[in-house]
């Protein structure tokens, strides 16, 4: 399984990396962990003339948290490190769960959360929770920095809002709000290591009486991009999330999904799983609010 020929570039800084992207536009690909990219090269699905490695750029390794700003996840934060990081486990346990349910140990030791997002697969494990938690992607280019809300980041299978000269530098996740709860639910044909047949991320924020103030639900693998379940979200506004309400919201999420049949699951099965996983996610998120 030899690879097609390319020139490998290993810039020492983000600035240098951006300049290379500008110089070789249309002929260059970014390699983070390479667990998606290398497979596509091996399959000859891509034949870039240049590959720019970013793992050696020091500023991309950051994982940091502060209670006001929230979490900054650098582009080279590995899936394994996110899954095991004590700060993430404490403040963002569902980000840790999503990272841990991505692929196998070896792939988590190489692959990044950012690569998972930039690859823009509708079934990516780390997208639903990041959408539910309203993350922001910071992109840099020779023109400067811009912030892309995650709701605007996914354009279609394999397509993100990043411009050809942009590198995604970090993911910002807001600090958890008081009385909020999050959940990540996944179902895949081959136990835990496989790509999701359906996955769901949910965040709810309630008031002191337990009434839902805000709900963000994201459905994965049931559309061209990770989808917001807007009908279900609207329905939850102003309601106490009882088991019955969660079940009704699940049924509405089923109507928000637009699944297809493929090798992993039929569209009927996927819709049914959206209903069930959304309900489970809402109940777990409600539990997480501690109200």
């Amino acid at each position: 399984m030899s690879l097609p020929k390319f020139t490998y570039l290993a810039p020492a800084s983000l600035e240098e990396a951006c300049n290379l992207l500008g110089k070789y536009q249309g002929k260059i690909r970014i390699k983070a962990g390479g667990t998606d990219l290398m497979v596509r090269l091996a399959q000859r699905a891509l034949k870039p003339e240049y590959i720019v490695g970013i793992r050696q750029i020091p500023e991309l390794a950051t994982i940091s948290f502060n209670p006001e700003e929230g979490l900054r996840l650098g582009a080279m934060a590995l899936l394994y490190d996110v899954a095991c990081n004590p700060i993430i486990q404490e403040h963002y346990p569902m980000l840790a769960r999503a990272a841990k349910s991505t692929a196998t140990v070896q792939i988590r030791n190489m692959g990044t959360v950012m690569g998972n997002i930039c690859n823009a697969s509708p079934s990516a494990d780390n997208s639903p929770t990041l959408v539910a938690m309203n993350a922001t992607i910071v992109a840099v280019s020779p023109a400067g920095e811009r912030k892309i809300p995650i709701d605007e980041f996914f354009l279609g299978p394999g397509r993100s809002a990043l411009e050809p000269m942009e590198i995604a530098k970090e993911i910002l996740v807001p600090a958890p709000l008081p009385r909020s709860g999050v959940s990540y639910q996944k179902i895949s044909p081959r136990s835990k290591v496989d790509i999701a047949a359906v996955n769901v991320g949910a965040m709810v924020v309630v008031d002191e009486q337990g009434t839902c103030q805000q709900a963000r639900i994201c459905l994965g693998a049931v559309g061209p991009v990770p989808l917001r379940a807007s009908t279900a979200e609207e329905f939850l506004q102003g309601k106490v999330i009882t088991d019955e309400v969660a079940e009704q919201a699940g049924a509405l999420a089923g109507t928000d999904a637009s699944p297809i049949s493929d090798v992993r699951a039929s569209k009927e099965y996927r819709r049914l799983m959206v209903i069930i996983l959304t309900k489970r996610a809402l109940l777990e998120a409600r539990h997480g609010t501690s109200i």
């Binding site: 399984m1 667990t35 290398m38 497979v39 399959q43 140990v105 070896q106 792939i107």
Partner: protein, 159 residues
């Protein structure tokens, strides 16, 4: 165009001229002639090519040789302490009959080394999760799980 690189494998330094598109798996097997590391799928699924880089288990089929300069690479050939003895994990695999054709074994052992370093006393479920990136066509896995449990005991006694 070939690049001059220097790789640290099992404590030895190799100066090599390699093309940038060659995987670490190819360079280990073909240039350095360390053929203990296997190639199965070439796409990250089977784990036969697993090596340790700076102590982390990774797929050498998805790693470029030019990317891992200056890092510490350990392959199955680097596990035994000397020419006479085997590593306790290797011993356990033999004693528990966890090897049939042996093709998956180097990868299984490297994944076990990573697992036991980070979790010296894994439960059976943790062993199965830790080895979920390694496929075996022969053993049915139970003996591999037994061998890893046995290796954990041995290593904890030694420590």
């Amino acid at each position: 165009m070939k690049q001059m690189i220097s790789l640290q494998v099992n404590g030895d330094t190799y100066e090599l001229a390699v093309n940038p598109w060659r995987t670490l798996n190819e360079v280990l097997r073909e240039d350095i002639k360390l053929t203990g590391t296997k190639l199965g799928c070439g796409t990250g699924d089977c784990g036969a090519c697993t090596v340790l880089i700076d102590g982390k288990s990774v797929s050498s089929c998805l790693t470029l040789a030019v990317e891992v300069q200056g890092m510490t690479i350990t392959t199955i050939e680097g596990m035994a302490p000397n020419a006479e003895e085997l590593h306790p994990i290797q011993e356990s695999f033999i004693e528990k009959g966890a090897i049939q054709c042996g093709y998956c074994t180097p990868g299984m052992i490297m994944s076990t080394a990573f697992l036991l370093k980070n979790n010296p006393q894994p439960t059976e479920a943790e062993i199965r999760a830790g080895l979920s990136g390694n496929l075996c066509r022969c053993t049915g896995y139970n003996k591999i799980v037994d061998a890893i449990g046995d290796a954990a005991e041995k290593l904890n006694k030694d420590a």
